[in-house]
């Protein structure tokens, strides 16, 4: 019997039905769970606050037909954005978030790079164990881990007890409700997000490239600077974005460890939503934040496509 051979009829331009569905599902997912909620947030950001249910106007009334659509769009305004622009509170809140995110990302890089490098250079039988250890914190709730840090950092907490016991300090310093505590929390929580992409790139790197650099006259530090660092750029960028973007919008860590003095943008959104009950302003703050964060994401995307085009 002759085996039945089906000619391959799919080319990259002509997708088969199966392939189309496979591509379509994630797009549907994104439209449904990202684009749609965002459209709602965007709409609310152009609304006015109201003592009603829902607490804003206008509300789109499909029963009113064409006239309804016209009044709906007529009632939208950019007042909330004008408020954000005029009140320096928001500006400083954004600035503070950026500052904390930037400093945290640099700290994460300084701590995460040696860790990832060590992991990648460790004997291969140790690597799964080290990998596991980095992942281990995920096995406990994030919130519990942050509360644990409150315990460690509080006035008579573990850290102060240790410092006093070692006679490094005379009186217990106040850690909580400070930027230091926020940085400790950020670095601790986001470390795996920095280490894992760095590890992924460093682990792939060919060790003989370092030898080649040495052979051509570069001492260790120079070989690192000229070869290791440029080649780990994709991991550095991925790790930085994976940490920077969520840290900018982080709410729990600054709220629990930072106290009232550090007002990050996440806290501002929360305040507008739950204390001021001003959904439109909260939404506008969120939309502005998204636009600010879109810039680094787009930069990253461009670099990725350039890399893909380069290696093709």
């Amino acid at each position: 019997m002759k085996p039945h051979v089906r000619p391959a009829k799919t080319t990259p331009r002509q997708l088969s039905w199966g392939a189309r569905i496979v591509v379509l599902v994630p797009y549907l997912w994104l439209v449904l769970f990202f684009l749609l909620p965002f459209a709602i947030v965007l709409k609310i950001s152009f609304s006015q606050t109201a003592i009603a249910q829902p607490p804003y106007t206008p509300v789109f009334d499909p029963a009113a037909g064409w006239e309804g659509i016209k009044t709906f769009f007529g009632a939208l305004s950019s007042d909330n954005y004008a408020l954000i622009a005029s009140d320096p509170l928001y500006f400083f809140s954004y600035l503070k978030s950026m500052e904390i995110a930037a400093v945290s990302t640099v700290l994460l890089m300084l701590i995460g790079f040696p860790m990832a490098y060590g992991m990648a250079r460790a004997p291969s039988r140790w690597q799964p164990v080290l990998f596991m250890l980095v992942m281990l914190p995920f096995w406990t709730s994030f919130l519990i881990r942050v509360y644990a840090w409150i315990n460690i950092l509080q006035h008579d907490g573990l850290l102060n007890q240790l410092l006093l016991a070692l006679r490094l300090v005379e009186a217990p310093p106040a850690w909580l409700a400070s930027d230091t505590a926020v940085y400790i929390g950020m670095v601790y929580s986001y470390l795996p997000f920095m280490v894992l992409p760095l590890y992924a790139t460093l682990e792939k790197m060919d060790e003989t490239l370092i030898e080649a650099a040495a052979d051509l006259g570069a001492p260790r530090w120079k070989a690192f600077w000229l070869v290791t660092l440029p080649l780990s750029m994709p991991g550095i960028i991925a790790g930085a974005l994976l940490c920077f973007i969520p840290i900018v919008g982080e709410f729990v860590i600054p709220d629990l460890l930072g106290g009232s003095r550090s007002i990050m943008i996440g806290q501002t959104v929360w305040t507008e939503f739950f204390l001021n009950k001003d959904w439109p302003v909260a939404c506008a703050v969120a939309v502005v934040l998204l636009c600010v964060l879109l810039a680094p994401i787009l930069v990253y995307q461009r670099m990725q496509t350039r890399d893909l085009a380069g290696s093709a």
């Binding site: 030898e211 052979d215 051509l216 120079k222 000229l226 380069g310």
Partner: protein
């Protein structure tokens, strides 16, 4: 000239170097004196003593795992010897780190920096030396011209073919004009045709630049084509050092004879070690044998092996005129047709399997000797070699 003070180097190394070496008159450049290197429980390099002369094309040949790459890495400075000395220009370089050695290496994987252009790859070493910009540019252009890659200076390594990458790696290693260029399996990644061409390119290049090349290879044809001298390595030690012709025609042991090319080995005993017409040997497998040539220190009654290359064995269907010496009858057991040659496997009446190679001088499809034919193998007295080890 050969100031080998290798009293501590061990008998084995001394023996390995005991084969006659061609005196070329150039001074010794690299000297290894009883160098050993072990990794955990494995002795990678075992008391190797070796002298490589200025301007020489030296090949290290051996099966995989014989320590030839480790030896190369010891020269490059990526490994430090556990014992012994490595001298370059008469100076011990044990304490000199890889980045300060006037030695460059071409890696088997080429190890081109993927983020740098061809030009920057070649310039890398020169930049480490902080040479003036104009000099670097000139030298890079010169190197790229040398390997015929002038038009590819701005390309990245991944935009090049395998052969082009190989040439970039070569240009990069040559750019600093090293005292010794180390090449680790330089042609292994190329296809057969390109490999053949590149062998001759490398030889021309070495000749033109008057550099010292040390190449590691597992391909004996490659080593024999390119090298002025070669060292055959076995289990971390040097089994034999000599010119390709010396190694092929005068192997010092059965192992070397068997490793380099094809060989027939006939075990026997010396009958007469003093006869003027050659060494008389008796064997169970092939009767009486006579070997003419430089004779190893053997005396009557010693057990020896007569080594005979297949191309030196004549095969015929007719009975040769003299059959009482260096002659054996048998039956064709197999024929390997290689195009240029045919290899005949013949089972002698004694049961020993011997190989004879015959050049295919005519374009006949049907060869005069076929399977199961009754044939005679015979050879002149100066075709064979006596081995004791």
């Amino acid at each position: 000239m050969d100031n080998r003070t290798a009293a501590s180097a061990g008998e084995r190394a001394a023996q390995a170097n005991g084969t006659p070496e061609q005196a070329t008159g150039t001074p010794a450049l690299v000297q290894l004196e009883g160098v050993s290197k072990r990794f955990a429980n494995i002795v990678a390099v075992d008391r190797v003593s070796l002298t490589i002369r200025e301007g020489e094309f030296f090949a290290l040949l051996g099966p995989s795992g014989c320590g030839k790459t480790t030896l190369l890495r010891l020269l490059a400075g990526f490994e430090t010897p556990d014992s012994g000395r490595i001298l370059l220009d008469g100076k011990d370089i044990a304490a000199v780190p890889a980045y300060r050695r006037p030695v460059n290496m071409m890696f088997q994987s080429y190890a081109l920096f993927p983020h740098l252009s061809v030009e920057s790859n070649v310039a890398f070493g020169l930049r480490q030396d902080r040479r003036p910009k104009s000099e670097i540019a000139r030298r890079v252009a010169q190197m790229l011209a040398l390997v015929q890659l002038e038009g590819h200076a701005k390309r990245k390594p991944h935009q090049l073919s395998g052969g082009q990458r190989q040439r970039v790696a070569l240009a990069r290693a040559l750019a600093k004009h090293p005292r010794v260029l180390l090449l680790d399996e330089p042609l292994a990644a190329l296809d057969k045709k390109l490999r053949g061409e590149t062998q001759f390119e490398l030889m021309n290049l070495q000749d033109k630049l008057r550099l010292t090349f040390v190449v590691v290879t597992h391909d004996q044809q490659e080593a024999m084509t390119m090298a002025d001298r070669m060292g055959v390595m076995k289990e971390g030690g040097l089994a034999q050092v000599g010119t390709p012709a010396q190694i092929y025609e005068q192997p010092n042991s059965r192992w070397v004879a068997d490793f380099i090319g094809e060989i027939n080995l006939i075990e026997g005993h010396v009958v007469d070690a003093t006869a003027s017409n050659g060494l008389a040997i008796t064997s169970i497998a092939a009767g009486r044998l006579r070997v003419l040539g430089e004779r190893n220190a053997v005396s009557s009654g010693d057990r020896v092996w007569v080594a005979l290359r297949p191309e030196k064995v004549r095969i015929s269907r007719e009975r040769p005129p003299v059959t009482d010496e260096n002659c054996a009858a048998g039956q064709v057991y197999g024929i390997g047709y290689l195009g240029d040659l045919s290899i005949y496997k013949v089972r002698l009446d004694s049961g020993l399997l011997m190989k004879a190679a015959l050049a295919n001088m005519t374009r006949l499809i049907e060869r005069p000797i076929g399977w199961d034919d009754r044939v005679w193998l015979h050879w002149p007295a100066d075709a064979a070699l006596v081995l004791t080890d």
